[in-house]
Symmetry: C2
Subunit: 226 residues, 2 copies
DNA sequence: CCGCAGTTTGACCAAATGGTCCAGTTCAAG
DNA sequence: CTTGAACTGGACCATTTGGTCAAACTGCGG
């Protein structure tokens, strides 16, 4: 038993991987995302993950070193995607457009990847034991950088003056809310319909109003047609 | 052993309660709030709760029927307080003042009761199995009622037209974010200082700008001094 | 000081669960 | 077809954990 699999840390494509290995590992990771996002780390069991992936428990352990290794892997895969929308906010684009697009992209992620959003939320709620480093390292630096960009836009009169970091927090909060608190939203709204279209309109309107320059800066002063 | 304690369901003060019973039950509930909010239901153990309350595990079980009974009790106590700020939003008050006060009260709760906020968030994240009834009953009705009030204010030109329910969602999201995601906020901001003063200023400004009537309705048109 | 309801806990129990072993089965290269 | 490596899963193990029990202890009204 050569025991090749189980690459707990970083994924290196070079390490030879059978077609079957790739498929099974993906199946396990997807099942794990399901289970972890629904029950949290402690609430999830290997049996749940195995069953959902269509494998036996020992077989899951053949591909991953253990429960924690699976969790770590799932989480690190999420994080790549998670920062993307903020990263792609362009300092050279039109300020108001860029920020509204960021809100839109973030809301789109809440709609497309609710499991990821919930898992991330759970992890942070419990003190982010697993991703502490990333938060105080990569994320902090990124926010610092983008906050400067936003401050620049404010100073140039392109958008209204706002506290840039708290603006970012409010964007995270409002968009992720539609994934993380979906249960509550459905119960308050009545489960009949998709809340996202109205949410998109509301949030776009809200941030447009917040950010519209107070005095006409150089072009169209109004936010847009509601 | 008459086994008087353990009133799992509603709390009825009439049922005789020793001074010692009251004290111990409170200690257990407080310890449980600590532990449940930090680890979730599954992640919490009776031993953690017992230790934190300064009791032995069997002793805890003497006062409560079981782990779930403790959890239910903690949760139901929270919910009373939780809806309070929204309840006290007065339809006859000044619209903008009422809404800004609501935001302020809600943020204050995030600051004063972060454990409660996190426990509530965890519960909803996992599908709110324990409080489903309350959400789709009491809460839904309350939101329905307050949404009508807000719509009335909009129609009367007292505040700008907004989707009332999504406005409420955005208030919940932004305020609770400072409790639920506190770990992330500290890491992004640098743990040095209290984020709440700036958060209060930012959120007040944001909602004031969102809600300020577009055309002067009948009195002071501007939102206030920044 | 007695007696008993009220209180406390060490010792235990059974189920759940992360993880291991090893005897098989499948697969693909030669 | 052969053969060794890759893969699979039934049986098993150790720990954790929610919960039980009976024996012991405490405090107070009579």
């Amino acid at each position: 038993m050569p025991r090749v699999p189980s690459s707990a840390s970083n994924d290196r494509p070079p390490v030879r991987q059978t077609r079957i290995q790739k498929a099974k590992r993906e199946a396990i990771l997807d099942a794990a995302l399901d289970v972890f996002s629904q029950h949290g780390f402690r609430g999830a069991t290997l049996d749940m993950i195995a069953t959902r992936a269509g494998l036996s428990k020992p077989n899951v352990l053949y591909y991953f070193a253990g429960k924690e290794a699976i969790y770590t892997q799932v989480l690190s895969q999420i994080l790549e995607t998670w920062l993307d929308p903020l990263v792609s906010m362009d300092a050279d684009g039109d300020p108001l457009q860029e920020l509204r697009a960021y809100v839109g992209r973030k809301l789109e992620m809440a709609r497309e990847f609710p499991r990821e959003s919930r898992l991330f939320a759970t992890e942070i709620l419990q003190g982010a034991p697993e991703i502490e480093g990333l938060l105080s390292g990569e994320l902090r630096k990124l926010v610092e950088e983008k906050a400067k960009v936003i401050s620049g836009w404010s100073a140039a009169g392109k958008i209204a003056p706002v506290h840039p970091k708290h603006l970012i927090f409010s964007i995270w909060a409002t968009t992720q809310h539609y994934a993380d608190f979906r249960t509550q939203i459905d119960m308050v709204l009545g489960t009949g319909e998709d809340p996202f279209p109205e949410a998109a309109a509301f949030l776009d309107h809200m941030f447009a109003r917040l950010l519209a320059p107070v005095q006409a800066p150089d072009s169209t002063p109004s936010g847009g047609k509601p």
